[in-house]
C-alpha cells in the first residue's frame, strides 16, 4: 500500500477551510471557473478523459467504477450526449452529497461543467431526491447566476461549445438512485430499473449516450484538472486514489462527515474523528456502506483495516458509498435487521418477484424475530429466504436487502439464540 498523506486541508469539503466559499465572488477569488475556461478553450475531450482515468478517480456512488473509463464508453457515433448527476442520496447513513451541494456548490457546478465538456454533452440534468427541495432551489439560482456570468449558455468563451444545466426533483423513492431507474424517472415514467445491458453510456437518457455520476465523484473533477493526476494520486492508496467523504453515524459521540484520504483506518475514523462510542461503551459492529452493507464484527483487526476499495472486501463487506454506521453493545441484531428490512420492503419497486416477495417475507419474519416470539426454525427460514434471493434480482436493491440479514445471522449468532 502506498504511503498515506494526511492532507490537513479539504478537497471536497473546502467550506470547512474557506467558510465563505459558497459565495460566487469568494469562489472565483480562489481561481474558481478558471479551470472550466481552460478546459473549454484549450483542452481536447480525449485528453481530459485520459487525465481523469490517470488520476485514479473512482465512482463515489457505491460501485467504485473508474470514472475516466466510464467516460470512455460513451458512444461517439450517437448524439446528443447527456451528463446526469446522481444527487438522489437516499441510502440510510449517507449525507455527504447534501453537504457538498449546499456548502460548496460552485466547485460542484464547475466539476460537472468540466465533466460535461469531456463527454461532449451540452445538457446536464441534476437529479435530486425530492427532499432536497431547498438545495434544488438554491442550485436553480446559482445556475441563473452562471448564465448571467456567461459561464453557461451558447458560444462559451467565443467557442462553439454550448452548455445548460437543469435540476430535476425526485419525489421520495430510494430506487431512483439506481441509475437506470433514475433515467426512467426523468423521462416521466415510473422509476423502475431497466434491463442491462445496454448500459447508459451506450443507451441512456432519451435513448442517447449518457454518463451517470455521483455528486461527490464529479465535485473532484475541476481540482483534478487544475492540479493534475499525480497530485490526486498523492492522496489515498494505490488502488483507491484521493480523499473520500465518510458519513459517520450511529452510536458514536461525534457523528458527521469527515473527509479523509482513502486508506484511513476504521479506528482513526471512529475514535480519532468520531470521538469514540457513546457513553464510552463497547463497539459491536460496523456497517461499512449504509443499510445495504453486510455487518462486520468490530474486532481489533477490523478496526485497523484501511477504508479502501481493495481492503474492505477482505472483511466480507464493501466500501460502497462509505457511509459508516456504528453499532455498540446496546444494539440487538434482531432489532437491526428488522429496521433494515422495513426500509427495503418499503423501497422495493416491485418489478421482479424475488425482491418483491422476498422483502415481504423477510419483513414478516424479522418482525416476529425482533419481537422475541420466534423459534430457531424462523431464523433458519429467514436465512434461507435471504440466501435464495441472492443473484436472482433484477437490480442491486434486492441483493442489498439480504446483506445485513444474512451477515448478522452468520456473524452474530449469539443474538439469535432462543
Amino acid at each position: 500500500m502506498a504511503e498515506q498523506k494526511v492532507t490537513g486541508h479539504h478537497i471536497l469539503l473546502r467550506h470547512r477551510d474557506i467558510p465563505e466559499i459558497g459565495e460566487f465572488e469568494v469562489y472565483t477569488a480562489q481561481g474558481g471557473f478558471e479551470t472550466f475556461k481552460k478546459v473549454v478553450t484549450t483542452m481536447e475531450p480525449e485528453a481530459i478523459k485520459q487525465l481523469v482515468l490517470d488520476s485514479g478517480l473512482r465512482g463515489r456512488g457505491g460501485a467504485g467504477f473508474p470514472t475516466g473509463r466510464k467516460w470512455m464508453f460513451v458512444d461517439d457515433n450517437n448524439w446528443p450526449h447527456y451528463l446526469v448527476v446522481n444527487a438522489d442520496e437516499s441510502e440510510p447513513g449517507t449525507f455527504k452529497d447534501r453537504e457538498i451541494m449546499s456548502k460548496n456548490p460552485w466547485q460542484f457546478l464547475e466539476g460537472i461543467m468540466c465533466s460535461a465538456f469531456a463527454i461532449g454533452a451540452n445538457d446536464i440534468y441534476i437529479y435530486l431526491r425530492g427532499e432536497f427541495w431547498q438545495i434544488a432551489h438554491e442550485l436553480d439560482r446559482q445556475i441563473e447566476k452562471l448564465h448571467a456570468e456567461s459561464l453557461l449558455g451558447e458560444k462559451l468563451f467565443g467557442t462553439d461549445y454550448a452548455l445548460n444545466i437543469y435540476t430535476h426533483l425526485g419525489a421520495g423513492a430510494y430506487i431512483c438512485g439506481e441509475e437506470t431507474a433514475l433515467l426512467n424517472s426523468i423521462e416521466g415514467i415510473m422509476g423502475q430499473p431497466r434491463l442491462r445491458p445496454p448500459f447508459p453510456p451506450a443507451v441512456g437518457l432519451y435513448g442517447k449516450p449518457t454518463v451517470v455520476n455521483n455528486v461527490e465523484t464529479l465535485a473532484n473533477v475541476a481540482l483534478i484538472l487544475e492540479k493534475g493526476a499525480a497530485w490526486y494520486r498523492s492522496f489515498g492508496t494505490a488502488e483507491s486514489a484521493g480523499t473520500k467523504v465518510f458519513s459517520l453515524s450511529g452510536r458514536v459521540k461525534k457523528p458527521g462527515n469527515y473527509e479523509l484520504p482513502l486508506g484511513t483506518t476504521y479506528r482513526q475514523l471512529i475514535y480519532e474523528y468520531g470521538g469514540g462510542i457513546m457513553g464510552d461503551g463497547k463497539i459491536k459492529g460496523i456497517m461499512s456502506a449504509g443499510a445495504s452493507s453486510a455487518v462486520i464484527v468490530a474486532t481489533d483487526e477490523v478496526l485497523d483495516t484501511p477504508m479502501a476499495y481493495e481492503s474492505v472486501p477482505s472483511l466480507g463487506a464493501d466500501l460502497g458509498s462509505a457511509s459508516v454506521i456504528i453499532l455498540d453493545e446496546t444494539v440487538d441484531m434482531r432489532w437491526l435487521i428488522n429496521k433494515t428490512i422495513d426500509f427495503f420492503k418499503h423501497e422495493s419497486c416491485g418489478k421482479c418477484t424475488p425482491c418483491r416477495e422476498g422483502t415481504f417475507w423477510m419483513q414478516k419474519l424479522t418482525t416476529r424475530i425482533a419481537s422475541g416470539d420466534a423459534g430457531e426454525a424462523d431464523v433458519e427460514l429467514l436465512h434461507n429466504v435471504a440466501k435464495n434471493m441472492q443473484g436472482k434480482c433484477l437490480c442491486a436493491l434486492g441483493e442489498f436487502s439480504t446483506m445485513a440479514v444474512a451477515s448478522s445471522i452468520e456473524r452474530f449468532s449469539e443474538d439469535f439464540k432462543v
Partner: protein, 167 residues
C-alpha cells in the same frame, strides 16, 4: 387552456423548457409538485389536466403519484411533520422522539390534529443521519429540514404555525 395552465402559466412554461420539445412527459413530476401547491395534495382534476398538458392518460399520471411518497392523493394537515425513524436516526433515539412527540401533540403516527394544521408521519432516511432526532416539514410552501430537535423545540414550531394562522 385548463385551470392549472391558467393559474400557473409561467411556472409550467418554465418547467417545459427544461426538457426536449418531444419529451414533454418528463415534466410530469414537476407539474405534480405545482398541482400540489394548492391544498397539499393532487386532485382527480389535476390528474386529468396534467394528462392534457403532457399527452398522457390519467392512469399514467396516477401511476406516478402512486409510485412516489412525496405526492399525496388525500388531504392531510397543512404541515406534514415527517420524522425519520430509519436506522441511523433510530440508533440515536428517533423512535422515542416520535413517540413522545405524538403523545404531546395528542395524535398517533399518520393522524392529523383536529384543527387540520399538523400531520405526523414516520419516514425513511432523509440524509440528516448525524443530526437525529430530525424531521422535514412538507407544506404547500415546499420542504424544510429541522435537525437536532427535541420535543420542546418541535412543539414551539407547531405553536408558531398556530400563531401565524391566527394572524
Amino acid at each position: 387552456m385548463n385551470a392549472l395552465q391558467h393559474k400557473y402559466a409561467k411556472d409550467i412554461e418554465k418547467v417545459l423548457a427544461k426538457y426536449p420539445a418531444d419529451r414533454k412527459q418528463s415534466a410530469v413530476m414537476p407539474l405534480l409538485y405545482i398541482a400540489q401547491r394548492d391544498g397539499g395534495y393532487v386532485t382527480k382534476q389535476d390528474l386529468v389536466e396534467i394528462g392534457e398538458i403532457l399527452d398522457m392518460s390519467t392512469t399514467e399520471v396516477a401511476s406516478i403519484v402512486g409510485f412516489y411518497t412525496l405526492y399525496h392523493d388525500q388531504p392531510a394537515g397543512t404541515y406534514r411533520i415527517q420524522v425519520c425513524t430509519d436506522l441511523s436516526c433510530a440508533l440515536r433515539g428517533a423512535d422515542e422522539f416520535l413517540e413522545n412527540l405524538c403523545e404531546n401533540v395528542g395524535i398517533k403516527v399518520g393522524e392529523t390534529t383536529e384543527d387540520g394544521l399538523v400531520t405526523i408521519e414516520a419516514v425513511m432516511c432523509l440524509a440528516g443521519c448525524d443530526k437525529a432526532p430530525m424531521f422535514q416539514v412538507q407544506s404547500p410552501e415546499g420542504i424544510e429540514y429541522h435537525e437536532n430537535q427535541t420535543v420542546e423545540s418541535t412543539l414551539a414550531l407547531i405553536e408558531s404555525w398556530k400563531q401565524e394562522k391566527e394572524d
